[in-house]
Symmetry: C2
Subunit: 412 residues, 2 copies
């Protein structure tokens, strides 16, 4: 299966193996129901790793641990992710638990424990059952493989309320060699990243210097995961890891000015955008994917702010769920975004339907046609503020009864 | 029926007449269903009026009109409020419609049109049908009365998705005379005031100078309507009018240092708090009233910011709807509020139940007891940040299927 969301590279929906990454998944039993909940990734010696983490002031123990280890180095040799327990609001015992997990992975893989990254997702405030993880780890270490199927299994094992696993690959030709990039992500609720999304990892066999990987990781985050918002609720556990194993037989990319960096970045960005949009599409209870594009802004920050305010408005989202052409709620959301706007210059389109021109209902407005459009599964809301040249885009979903059901019964 | 929410005065739930205010309500036909939708209030010659309006950058035409008229004066002689049409995102024609309404009221009451305030609530983006209002106005002008029952009728006529009319009175003795204060309000959804709430008017027969009334209005707004948030969606039409008719036989209150101002302010504030809490209690689809108190903050702004972030978190609100003791979502909301916190110093209580101490689950935590508490209709969440002496409080409700139903079908 092939997707063509990005012109510069072709996305492959069946994940491809990445040389230099071995991985496996299994069940530690953090969930009551019998489902996989633990993923181990091991990276070759030449690997560099960068990451973006949640900006939450109550960041979870695994975030505190992982951020600390990557603060002054781009070296990491493993990443352990568990679902079923966020290990957040667990105090010093929680931090010790993350540390113990890292030590056990380190011992099994013969790498320093501070080269082990940890990611957790699940219920907040519940102690992490380290014994269960310790029992499951040896089998996972034993099962590490570079087989493509392990990526699909990993994407499934990190799911929480996700309804579909999220994995995708791309190939990009650099210096006559096919560079492979594969990414996995999880996220469905509590999605309003300040820095990344719930949990994502994208690995490539490209040789990229650590000094470059970090800013590359930031740029990709901004263009992808930071554009998603399901419910405005930013997680304590958000993390996105970018791994470059360096196994591909091309000369290292070690300067920002290296023209090959742009090709690689475009492909990584395409993967990240694909995963990010999948998260919005799989938002808790979602029936519609909604793209909100704001143009004509004085600056990109204003455009983002307005797009996010619309995307997080419960009134906009409930109207979309009901396919109700109540576009006045979009005007109200624009008005409360904290950005100066001139209503007389405002245009709003839903898909190709002109809705607002010069701040009031467009002459060609046709409610029946708009309602028909809103019954579709893919909605684009385009705003033109008429104030400048800057633009930005945010992705979200509608707010339905499903969201209430999922989040009323999440822990049961 | 008597309430005792405020020690300094007694609230009376059956509204009392206010000398110097005559009012009436009726039907202009802005709603399809046969229900009242138009309220006219007339104030005596000695009246002073102040107001706070929405901070929305897409404020509705009636707000633009009313704000303009009160910009440099405290004189107003009438207030016309309609439900069924917000007259927002209606451009120059919308502003002309508000102006025409003011002119017609002015002509009927023999007062200058710029002494007529206008408030509208209802669907955004729909032109206001001025002809319908013009047809209904003469009968309303004819029916103006100082009868107490007219206040209850007015509270009912300004409702939109409100399930109960909101009206309350208080009496406070100043200089040996009973001063009467009566307030009405409407609001249920799109409630996250930046300045006021949907629509509210509080009138007193006290003689208060215009120069004092304006700051009094601001302080009362901050202590009451600005503490409510149902869904984070701030309206284009928010407005709160404070009217002092000056008919009571006491010397004018014309200095901030006048000790009688404190008594009057306490009573007006009690009325405003009562109305504001009623709005939260009557939030769209709400089954629970939720009080979020944040103490131990470095400053009041931080406390308010954290309280509002918790109050607007869909994940907190859905857990409350389901009576689920998923308190980790409160920790997550605190973390994303954009305020520096020290998790190790954080305490959280639900009612009298200790939940978090020092950033992790309290030793005495009893989930069964907490779940039982959460099944009640009145929930208090108390946060202590352990960082300072400042505190603040916000009122909200839970997020239920009812919210989705109401907002999916609002226009039909």
């Amino acid at each position: 299966m092939v997707d063509t969301t990005n012109a510069s590279c072709v996305l492959v929906r069946e994940p491809l193996p990445v040389q230099g990454v071995r991985l496996s998944s299994g069940r530690a039993g953090l969930y009551k129901k019998p489902r996989p909940d633990l993923v181990l990734l091991a990276f070759g010696e030449k690997s560099h790793v960068a990451a973006t983490f949640t900006l939450s002031a109550t960041a979870a123990a695994p975030v505190l641990w992982s951020r600390d280890q990557l603060a002054n180095t781009s070296h990491a040799r493993a990443l352990l992710i568990n679902a079923g327990c966020a290990n957040a609001a667990t105090g010093a015992p929680g931090l010790a638990a993350a540390q113990t997990c890292a030590a056990q992975v380190g011992a099994l893989l013969d790498v320093p424990s501070h080269h082990v990254q940890i990611g957790s997702t699940g219920v907040i405030g519940v102690p992490l059952d380290v014994a269960k993880i310790a029992s499951a780890l040896p089998a996972l270490a034993e099962a590490l493989t570079d087989d493509a199927k392990a990526w699909s299994a990993a994407a499934a094992a990190i799911m929480t309320t996700d309804t579909i696993p999220k994995a995708v690959s791309a190939r990009v030709n650099i210096d006559g060699h096919d560079i492979t990039i594969t990414g996995i992500a999880k996220g469905s609720g509590m999605i309003a990243p300040n820095m990344a999304t719930m949990l994502a990892a994208i690995a490539s066999d490209a040789p990229v210097a650590g000094s470059i990987l970090s800013s590359l990781c930031q740029r990709v985050t901004q263009a992808s995961f930071n554009r998603v918002t399901v419910d405005g609720d930013c997680s304590t556990n958000d993390a996105f890891w970018l791994i470059a194993t360096g196994e591909a037989p091309i000369a290292p990319i070690d300067a920002e000015t290296d023209p090959r960096l742009a090709s690689l970045e475009a492909a990584i960005e395409a993967i990240a955008i694909h995963l990010a949009q999948k998260i919005a599409r799989d938002g808790e209870g979602a029936t519609k994917f909604v793209r909100i594009h704001v143009a004509g802004a004085a600056n990109a920050q204003s455009a983002r702010k307005i797009a996010k305010t619309i995307a997080e408005s419960p009134l906009v989202k409930t109207a979309l769920a009901a396919s109700d052409a109540n576009w006045g709620r979009v005007v109200a959301a624009i008005g409360r975004a904290g950005v100066a706007v001139n209503l007389d210059k405002l245009s709003i389109d839903f898909g190709t339907h002109a809705v607002v021109r010069g701040g009031l209902v467009a002459a060609s407005y046709d409610e029946a046609a708009l309602s028909a459009y809103l019954r579709g599964e893919n909605i684009t809301i385009s705003i033109d503020l008429g104030l400048g040249a800057a633009q930005d885009e945010v992705w979200t979903c509608d707010l339905t009864h499903g969201y209430i059901d999922i989040n009323g019964s999440y822990r049961s």
